[in-house]
């Protein structure tokens, strides 16, 4: 049995190290390509694009009419905080999306 940098020999077979490296790199490249392809085709990528575009839109167009320049005072944050709960308390998720609404008997079945 003999051993060299590029060739590992035994009694039966000879394996070329350079060839092994080429195959490994090729398989890695194929796997990277497949992963990228799956990612770009996935809903995760769509979501990234959607969030990015939504943020851009929010920052550029939709904030027209909102003050985006004057310095924020502590009271501004408190006023905003105090306004949140009264505005969202009108929503009753338990009632509006009640499971009873989709009960088969409610739907006439």
């Amino acid at each position: 049995m003999s051993l060299s940098f590029l060739n590992i020999k035994n009694n039966e077979k000879t394996t070329n190290l350079g060839w092994l490296i080429v195959v490994t790199i090729t398989i890695s490249l194929v796997m990277v390509f497949i992963s990228l392809y799956i990612f770009f085709k996935s809903s995760a990528y769509d979501t990234v694009i959607q969030i990015r575009s939504a943020n851009q839109k929010l920052a550029e167009d939709d904030l027209q009419g909102y003050d985006t320049k004057s310095p924020v005072q502590s009271t501004d944050l408190q006023n905003h905080a105090n306004s949140i709960q009264p505005r969202i308390k009108q929503f009753n998720d338990q009632e509006d999306f009640s499971l009873e609404l989709v009960d088969p008997t409610q739907l006439g079945l």
Partner: protein
């Protein structure tokens, strides 16, 4: 041989999303649900559903409209709040203040709002499917869809509640601490 197998595998990976993206009809979607649920209905039950389902489809239309209204109202209010937060974040950034909590809150709200809209979309597609098929001829598929609506409603309720909780807790988690820090 190995290369051929690798090539086939690669082609499968590429072809699968393309095949999945093909348009599916409402009947096919409900049939898929029916097959997944593997529920067997008695002939009497199916005959009863065939008679009653046209009335049920009318009720589904009312439910769909009502649901869309609830969702639109929420998206409008939550969207306004998000814009106000974004404006505050921009103002804080311009004065050099650290607004990382607010940035995190906007991100969390955005993700929750997207999930809520996705749930609504799935729910809406399901109701549209149920309304569009000839239910008298396909009572089994119709029942499978009705059974699925229950799950979709649960998901929608949870998604709506997730946005609500983020916003409801936001004064305590974000705004009051930020306000205190700004005062100092």
């Amino acid at each position: 041989m190995k290369y051929v197998m690798l090539l086939v595998l690669l082609l499968l990976v590429i072809a699968t999303p393309a095949i999945a993206q093909q348009k599916i009809s409402p009947l096919e979607r409900l049939q898929t649900l029916y097959n997944q649920q593997q529920t067997t209905y008695t002939p009497e039950k199916l005959a009863d559903v065939s008679i009653r389902c046209p009335e049920s489809q009318k009720k589904l239309l009312v439910l769909q409209r009502q649901n869309n209204l609830f969702v639109q109202k929420r998206i409008s209010v939550y969207g306004d709040l998000q814009k106000e937060m974004k404006a505050l974040e921009l103002r804080l950034a311009k004065q050099g203040a650290d607004a990382s909590e607010l940035d995190l809150l906007i991100g969390k709200q955005q993700v929750a709002l997207e999930a809520f809209q996705d749930s609504q979309k799935n729910y809406d597609i399901l109701i549209s499917d149920l309304r569009s098929i000839n239910c008298a001829e396909n009572p089994g598929f119709f029942l499978a869809g009705i059974s699925e609506i229950y799950k979709q409603q649960q998901k929608l309720k949870e998604a709506a509640n997730a946005v609500f909780v983020i916003l409801y807790d936001s004064p305590k988690t974000t705004f009051y601490p930020l306000s205190e820090r700004l005062r100092i």
